[in-house]
C-alpha cells in the first residue's frame, strides 16, 4: 500500500482520461455548455492536485510504482511515476493554462459534441504523464499521445491551410517519434532497463560507449523536434498559424516547452553519467539555442500574419530555453524551468489576443487590421504589455527566468549566447509591439489595397462576449507580472537541484541588471523603425534595407511549407548532432 501523498500521483493523469472517456461515451447526450463546464473543472482539479503534489514533493521526490512493482535488488521491472518539486509545479501550471484556455474557448465551437474538449483533455493527460514519468518507454508513450491529440486538434477546422499545416506537423513529429523509439531501443539494449535511475546507474558504470551516444543523439533529436529548435523548427510555424486559437495557446504555452523540459530531464538525469554526452551538451545546446533565438526573432519580425509571427517568437524563446539547459548548471536549468512558466503565461495571453482579433475583427493580418483595434482598448493594453514582457521588461516570472538563464551563461563565459538571447527576445518584442501599435493605435503608413495575408481567409466564431475572452488573457498576464518574486527566488535553487538529482545549492547568479532594459530599448527602436520607416531620412533606411533584403529572401524561401524540404532539413540536423557527438 502506497502512503498518502504518493498515491495521488496517478490521479492528475487518470482524471482527465476518465472524464474524456465518459464524455466520448455520452457525447451525443450532453446538453449545451456541459462539456465546457466539465472540461474547465477537470483542468482546474488537475492543476490543484498537481500543486498539492508539488508542495508535498518539496522535501524529497514522490515515487509511485504501478501495480506495486517496486524495484528489487536493483532490477527495475515496473513502471513508475516520480515527481520532484519542479515537475509538479510545471504540471500544475499546465493544468491552469488548460483551465483558462477552456474559459477562453467557451462556446468557441458550435456543434462539437464535446469532441474538442475530449481531445484537449487527452492532450492534458499526456502532458501531465510526460512530466511525471520515470520510465523511458512511458515517456515515449506520452510523447506519442500528446502528438496524436495535437495533430487532430491542428486540423480541427478542416480547412485547406489547416490540413496542410496538420500534415506537415504530423509527418515531422511522427519521424521524431520513430527516432525516439530507436534511441530508447538502443539504450535498453545497452543497459537492460527502461527506468531513468536504472539507466543512469548503468550509463555511469559503462564509460565511453558509442551506443549510449547514439541513443542520446536519437532521443535528443526527437525532443528538439518537439521543441522546434533550428533546423527542426519548420513544422511549428505552419501548425501554430493554422490551428484554432485556443489550441495555439496550448501549443505555444506548453507543448513546445515541454519538449525542452523532457530534454532537460533526460540529459540531466538519464545521461548524467556519460562524459561524452555531458561534454557535448554545452557546445550543442548553446550553439543551436543561440542560432534558434536569432533566427526565430528575425523571422517573427518579417511576418504580417499575427499567429505566424507569434509562432516564430515561440521558436526564438525555445532557443533561449535551450541555452539555459546548455549551461548544465542548476542555475541554468532552474532559470529554464521558470522561463517555461513565464513564457507560457505571456505567449498564451498573446495567442488569446490574436484569437480575440480573429473573432471580433475577422482578420489575422497585421496590415489589414491597421487601426481596427480601436474599440478594443483593454486588449491593446494587454498586447502591448505582453510585448514588453516578451522582450524583457524586468518584472514578473518571465524576467526572473531570463535573468537566471543569463546569469548561468555569464558565469560560464558564454557571452555570445547571452547576447543572442537578448537580441532574439528584443526582435520578438519589437514584432509584437509593432503589431499592437499598428492595430490598436493605427500607426504606420496606410497600406491601401494590398494583397491579403499569406493564407486563406480565416474566421472564428464571433458571438462570444468580449470580456469572456479577455478575462483569461488578463489572468495570465497578471499571474506573470504578479507572482511574488521572493517565493520563486526562495524555492527555485532547491527545486532545480532536486530536478537534476544534484546536491542542493544556495542562491543562483543573475545576469547584468542593465541587459533587460537594453532589450526593451532595442525592441522599442525596432518597433518604431517598422512603423515609421517612411518618415525616417533615407540615409538611415537605405543601409538597413540593402543589408537585410538578401538574407530575408533566403530565409523566406527556406520556410517553403513543403514537407519534403522539412524532411531534408531533419536529416541534416540529425547528421549535424551526430557529428558533434563524435567529434567532441
Amino acid at each position: 500500500m502506497t502512503a498518502f501523498p504518493a498515491a495521488l500521483l496517478p490521479l492528475p493523469v487518470a482524471i482527465p482520461l476518465v472524464v474524456c472517456a465518459a464524455m466520448l461515451a455520452t457525447a451525443h447526450l450532453l446538453p449545451g455548455r456541459l462539456p465546457d463546464i466539465l472540461a474547465t473543472l477537470t483542468a482546474l482539479s488537475v492543476a490543484i492536485l498537481c500543486a498539492v503534489i508539488a508542495a508535498r514533493a518539496a522535501d524529497s521526490p514522490l515515487v509511485y510504482w504501478f501495480g506495486g512493482w517496486e524495484p528489487r535488488d536493483g532490477v527495475h521491472l515496473g513502471i513508475g511515476f516520480s515527481v520532484d518539486e519542479a515537475s509538479g509545479w510545471i504540471a500544475a501550471f499546465i493544468g491552469l493554462l488548460y483551465a483558462l484556455t477552456f474559459l477562453f474557448a467557451w462556446g468557441f465551437f458550435d456543434r462539437t459534441h464535446g469532441h474538442f474538449h475530449i481531445l484537449m483533455l487527452l492532450f492534458l493527460a499526456a502532458m501531465v504523464g510526460f512530466c511525471f514519468t520515470r520510465d523511458m518507454f512511458n515517456l515515449f508513450v506520452w510523447f506519442e499521445v500528446m502528438s496524436v491529440a495535437a495533430f487532430a486538434l491542428t486540423a480541427y477546422h478542416l480547412e485547406e491551410s489547416a490540413l496542410a499545416g496538420a500534415i506537415n506537423f504530423t509527418v515531422i513529429n511522427s519521424l521524431a517519434g520513430f527516432l525516439m523509439l530507436g534511441g530508447i531501443g538502443l539504450i535498453y539494449a545497452q543497459t537492460g532497463t527502461l527506468d531513468f535511475e536504472g539507466i543512469a546507474a548503468a550509463v555511469a558504470r559503462g564509460g565511453r560507449d558509442p551506443v549510449v551516444a547514439g541513443a542520446f543523439c536519437l532521443a535528443a533529436t526527437a525532443l528538439m523536434i518537439k521543441g522546434a529548435i533550428v533546423p527542426f523548427q519548420f513544422w511549428l510555424a505552419d501548425a501554430h498559424s493554422v490551428a484554432p486559437s485556443p489550441v495555439s495557446v496550448i501549443f505555444s504555452g506548453s507543448m513546445v516547452s515541454l519538449g525542452l523540459f523532457g530534454l532537460a530531464k533526460v540529459s540531466a538525469v538519464v545521461f548524467a553519467g556519460s562524459d561524452q554526452v555531458q561534454r557535448t551538451l554545452p557546445v550543442l545546446l548553446i550553439g543551436m539555442g543561440s542560432f534558434t533565438a536569432l533566427l526565430g526573432g528575425w523571422m517573427a519580425l518579417l511576418q504580417r500574419h499575427l499567429k505566424r509571427m507569434l509562432a516564430f517568437s515561440t521558436i526564438s524563446h525555445a532557443g533561449i530555453m535551450l541555452t539555459g539547459i546548455g549551461a548544465l548548471s542548476a542555475g541554468g536549468t532552474g532559470g529554464m524551468l521558470i522561463y517555461v512558466v513565464g513564457h507560457g503565461l505571456v505567449k498564451g495571453a498573446l495567442f488569446m489576443i490574436a484569437g480575440i482579433l480573429l473573432a471580433t475583427r475577422a482578420s489575422i493580418d497585421e496590415i489589414a487590421l491597421r487601426g481596427l483595434g480601436r474599440g478594443l482598448g483593454p486588449a491593446g493594453i494587454a498586447m502591448a504589455l505582453a510585448g514588453l514582457l516578451l522582450c524583457g521588461l524586468p518584472i514578473g516570472v518571465l524576467d526572473q527566468g531570463t535573468r537566471l538563464v543569463q546569469g548561468a551563461l555569464t558565469q560560464q563565459g558564454h557571452g555570445f549566447a547571452v547576447a543572442a538571447g537578448a537580441i532574439g527576445a528584443a526582435l520578438t518584442g519589437a514584432a509584437v509591439l509593432r503589431a499592437s501599435g499598428r492595430i490598436f493605435l493605427g500607426l504606420g503608413p496606410d497600406p491601401g489595397d494590398e494583397a491579403g495575408a499569406p493564407s486563406q481567409d480565416e474566421r472564428e466564431k464571433a458571438n462570444r462576449p468580449l470580456w469572456l475572452m479577455l478575462a483569461p488573457c488578463c489572468v495570465l498576464l497578471a499571474l506573470d507580472a504578479g507572482l511574488p518574486a521572493s517565493l520563486i527566488e526562495h524555492g527555485i535553487p532547491r527545486a532545480a537541484s532536486a530536478f537534476m538529482h544534484r546536491p542542493a545549492v544556495g542562491a543562483f547568479a543573475e545576469g547584468p541588471a542593465w541587459l533587460p532594459w537594453a532589450s526593451v530599448a532595442a525592441a522599442l527602436v525596432g518597433a518604431g523603425y517598422g512603423l515609421f520607416r517612411k518618415r525616417l531620412p533615407a540615409a538611415v533606411v537605405r543601409p538597413v534595407s540593402v543589408t537585410q533584403s538578401a538574407p530575408t529572401r533566403a530565409l523566406e524561401l527556406l520556410h517553403s511549407g513543403l514537407i519534403g524540404d522539412y524532411a531534408a532539413w531533419l536529416a541534416v540536423g540529425v547528421a549535424a548532432i551526430a557529428a558533434v557527438l563524435t567529434l567532441v
Binding site: 495533430f151 486540423a155 500534415i167 505552419d238 504580417r304 500574419h305 499569406p454 524561401l557 519534403g564
Partner: protein, 135 residues
C-alpha cells in the same frame, strides 16, 4: 551480434526519409513514413533477438529456457499501434485535403501561400509580402 539488422534499419530509415523528401503524392508520402517506421521494428527486434532461443512463451517449455527479450516485443507491439494510428490519421487528413484542394501534390497544398496562389513559384510575391511587413 550481427551488424546486419542495424544496417538494414539505417537503410530503411534513410530510404524512407528520401521518399518523404522527394514525394509528390501524399499517399506515397504516407507509405514512405511507414517505411521509416519499419526501420524501428527491425532495429527493436534485432536488439532483442538471442541466437538459439525460443519465443518468450513458457507454456510448453520449462522455465529457464533461453528466450528472446519480451520487453522489445512489447515495444514493437506498441510501435505498431502507434503506426496504425498515425497512418489512419494521415490518410484522413489526406482525403480531406483532396476534397478541398483537389490535389494530392504537397507542392500544390501549402499552409501559407501568398494571396492564395498555388504552384511551384510563389517566391517573388512571398518575399515582397515579407518586405512590406517590415515596413
Amino acid at each position: 551480434m550481427s551488424m546486419l539488422p542495424y544496417a538494414v534499419a539505417a537503410w530503411l530509415f534513410g530510404i524512407g526519409l528520401y521518399g518523404i523528401a522527394t514525394s509528390r503524392n501524399f499517399i506515397h508520402l504516407v507509405g514512405c513514413l511507414g517505411v521509416c517506421q519499419s526501420a524501428t521494428y527491425v532495429l527493436l527486434l534485432g536488439l532483442g533477438y538471442r541466437w538459439g532461443s525460443i519465443a518468450p512463451i513458457f507454456y510448453d517449455h520449462p522455465p529457464g529456457t533461453p528466450a528472446v527479450d519480451p520487453v522489445m516485443q512489447a515495444l514493437v507491439l506498441t510501435d505498431i499501434v502507434v503506426g496504425a494510428t498515425l497512418t489512419a490519421l494521415l490518410l484522413v487528413l489526406t482525403i480531406q485535403a483532396y476534397k478541398r484542394g483537389g490535389s494530392l501534390d504537397p507542392e500544390k497544398l501549402r499552409p501559407m501561400r501568398a494571396g492564395g496562389k498555388s504552384g511551384r513559384d510563389p517566391g517573388p510575391s512571398r518575399v515582397s509580402d515579407a518586405e512590406r511587413s517590415v515596413s
